[in-house]
């Protein structure tokens, strides 16, 4: 127990502390960097907000590899028309941290465009990306759910994913394939990951699948983010005897398939775009998922353009490229080429050029996207990969 300090003790120390606080404030204010576009290539300040730690780290890290690849290519190109000045910020998968990231990029780094790896990062930016006072910037984000583009924000683009956009066609394609190849898929069980991405995929899949006919039924089982033992959910689903189990969280595919196999399930799986069959085969034996279907983006198809890109990616990172890599790459390229077309780094001008840029069949457009709605939705179409046997992956294009 101590005596209360007599008055005046340590006043000096306290004053010193106060001076330090003020000095720090003054110091901070001078660190903001400003830049001028020179005579050379356009200088585009680009923000990359991704979750390289936390529960969505896999998405964020994959996204960042793709984004870095695009930045390197653009900056190292001969007679480059644009020079990207990137600023990275880790959101840790927390929307509140994403807000801090966004404001940092906006006012410190003066970015006019931001790419974001998940909707946790993209959606919170919409509260301030159109502020003229703070600095406008375009947001190009990946988001399964409608929220990103339903708020009439004029400076947003939803790239990749986009469950409401691709699932109507996708479920029809799946049904068509099922009929043609006698897969017999009617009853579907969804393993619903209780996050924005998982929910969007689950609800859109259910809506579209049930619309196909009265024999098309859907049951779903919800699990919390971070779950590792899926047995209770799988047991409930298996009791309904499904023909197909829809997995809504790519990275969890291996664990879910393994545990469902242990529980005696021998049917098919539907695996989202974040997990490719070749990638999954490195984790669990192909035998465990023969007969399954995989969402397949244009970037994963065997077109010369995407094959070339995948080879380049592999030589750079010694990893097989997946859909999130291509999304990181494609979002940055889209922004850069819109800026080149607009001959400006102004956010509104970049956004205005984007619909035109997307119709150009350029090598960088590995997603093969060709239409951008006024709302900001990129029209996404996926194909299916059907795993017929250990060495026969059949690609089915829409």
């Amino acid at each position: 127990m101590r005596h209360p300090a007599p008055r005046g003790r340590a006043r000096a120390a306290a004053l010193l502390g106060a001076v330090a606080v003020l000095a720090a404030l003054v110091g901070c204010s001078t660190t903001g960097s400003t830049s001028k576009a020179g005579t050379g290539p356009l200088e585009l300040h680009l923000g990359v907000i991704d979750s390289i730690t936390g529960s969505a780290a896999q998405y964020g890290q994959d996204f960042e590899r793709g984004a870095k690849m695009a930045i390197d290519e653009l900056n190292n190109a001969k007679d480059a028309k644009v020079k990207i000045v990137p600023s990275f910020c880790n959101s840790g998968g927390d929307p509140a941290q994403a807000v801090t990231c966004g404001k940092q990029l906006q006012s410190r780094d003066k970015v006019t465009a931001v790419v974001a790896s998940t909707s946790m990062e993209a959606v919170p930016l919409l509260t301030f990306n159109t502020s003229a006072a703070l600095g406008k910037f375009v947001v190009v984000g990946i988001s399964q759910a409608a929220g990103l583009t339903s708020s009439n924000n004029p400076l947003v683009v939803r790239y990749l994913a986009n469950a409401p956009s691709y699932l109507p066609a996708m479920t029809k394609l799946l049904d068509k394939t099922s009929k043609e190849q006698s897969l017999g898929i009617r009853k579907v069980g969804i393993m619903e990951w209780n996050t924005e991405a998982g929910q969007a995929l689950a609800t859109n899949f259910q809506k579209n699948w049930e619309a196909l006919g009265s024999a098309y039924t859907v049951s779903s089982a919800v699990y919390q983010d971070g779950t590792t033992d899926f047995s209770p959910q799988l047991t409930s689903l298996l009791a309904k005897d499904p023909d197909l189990i829809v997995i809504s969280q790519g990275p969890a595919s291996a664990a879910i398939i393994k545990q469902a196999t242990d529980l005696g399930y021998k049917g098919r799986y539907y695996v989202p775009v974040a997990q490719s069959p070749t990638q999954l085969a490195t984790q669990i034996p192909v035998e465990d998922f023969i007969g399954s279907v995989f969402e397949t983006s244009q970037a994963s198809l065997d077109t010369p353009r995407s094959t070339k890109w995948r080879d380049a990616f592999k030589s750079k990172y010694k990893l097989d490229a997946n859909a999130n890599n291509s999304a990181g790459y494609g979002s940055v390229e889209l922004i850069a080429h819109a800026a080149i077309a607009a001959a400006s780094v102004d956010a509104e001008k970049i956004r205005a050029e984007m619909p035109k840029v997307l119709t150009i069949d350029a090598p960088w457009n590995i997603g093969g996207y060709h239409s951008l709605a006024p709302s900001g939705d990129v029209k996404v179409e996926y194909g299916l990969t059907l795993v017929k046997s250990a060495d026969d992956f059949e690609l089915i294009q829409p």
């Binding site: 529960s55 780290a57 699990y223 590792t228 209770p232 047991t235 409930s236 009791a239 990275p251």
Partner: protein, 287 residues
């Protein structure tokens, strides 16, 4: 009926996993009074040890290695963090433990990356009885946990070391008065508890895969278990763990899945309201 039997089986397996971590907590939290919130993260590291060594030395040897490695980590943590904080307030120790969680998870992320790593089970395949499927590895888990429980029970009841540990658990000051080197006992108990956490992680890895956040949900459930049981006996903790496993598994089937974790929490709160010392705990003072 089949559904019920399958969910009961799932619940028992789940309960065994919670039970093993809860036993670690009874030792570290119950005896040493250290709210070791990083046990789940240490279990996760144990999973990575099995992931790394399993293909080289086989599952069982790698499991042993996980126990040794995580036990050693426990020793380091005790020496560097918890021993210096032994006079600090409970919550301060909580904070330090949470710092350890961030460090362990962060290191795992940087070293191994965010992708879940596959760990093959001790025995592959499933046992099928009357339509109920239980993977052999899950049966192994149930068996190992029971064996650990019985062994610990024997150590605590019948050996001198066990009596010393229980004496420290009753009262640190009392133990000091009768000449027990409490610091050394704490060290030993921390190593034992951590080694068991390593074992838990190694056992769980074939199910959960090795990934940085694998231990998160385990930790909180283990805490719920020992609060439900009442601090004190490892037998009580194990029984409470089975209850939590079953409640979670059955609740998810017959009630709503949105709330599977909520059922064990509600159960805990109801028990605490009726009997503030937990199901098997002795009466505690309320103020």
């Amino acid at each position: 009926m089949e559904l019920l039997a399958q969910q009961m089986a799932n619940g028992i397996v789940l309960g065994s996993i919670y039970g093993l971590l809860a036993i670690c907590l009874v030792l570290i939290f119950g005896v040493l009074d250290i709210p070791q919130f990083a046990l789940g993260a240490m279990a996760m590291l144990g999973g990575y040890v099995v992931f790394l060594l399993g293909p080289i030395v086989g599952y069982w040897v790698s499991l042993l290695a996980a126990m040794v490695a995580i036990g050693a980590l426990g020793a380091v943590v005790q020496r560097l963090v918890f021993a210096p904080l032994r006079k600090a307030a409970d919550v301060t120790v909580f904070v330090a433990a949470f710092g350890l969680v961030l460090i362990f998870q962060g290191l795992a992320l940087v070293i191994f990356g965010p992708d879940p790593r596959q760990v093959p089970p001790s025995i592959s395949g499933s046992l099928v009885i009357g339509g109920v499927h239980i993977a052999y590895h899950r049966l192994v888990i149930v068996g190992v946990v029971l064996a650990v429980f019985l062994a610990l029970q024997w150590v605590l009841r019948s050996t001198r070391a066990g009596r010393v540990i229980r004496a420290v658990g009753q009262s640190t000051t009392g133990a000091q008065v009768v000449g027990i080197p409490t610091g050394r006992v704490a060290f030993a108990v921390m190593i034992l508890g951590s080694a068991l956490a390593g074992l838990a992680g190694g056992l769980l890895a074939p199910i959960s895969q090795a990934m940085p956040l694998a231990g998160d949900s385990l930790t909180i459930n283990a805490f719920i278990v020992i609060i439900l049981a009442g601090m004190g006996s490892i037998g009580g903790a194990l029984v409470a763990a089975y209850i939590v496993g079953l409640v979670e598994s059955l609740g998810a089937t017959y009630l709503s899945q949105d709330f599977s974790q909520l059922y064990s929490i509600l159960l805990m709160l109801i028990v605490l309201l009726v009997k503030p010392s937990g199901l098997f705990g002795k009466k505690v003072s309320r103020v």
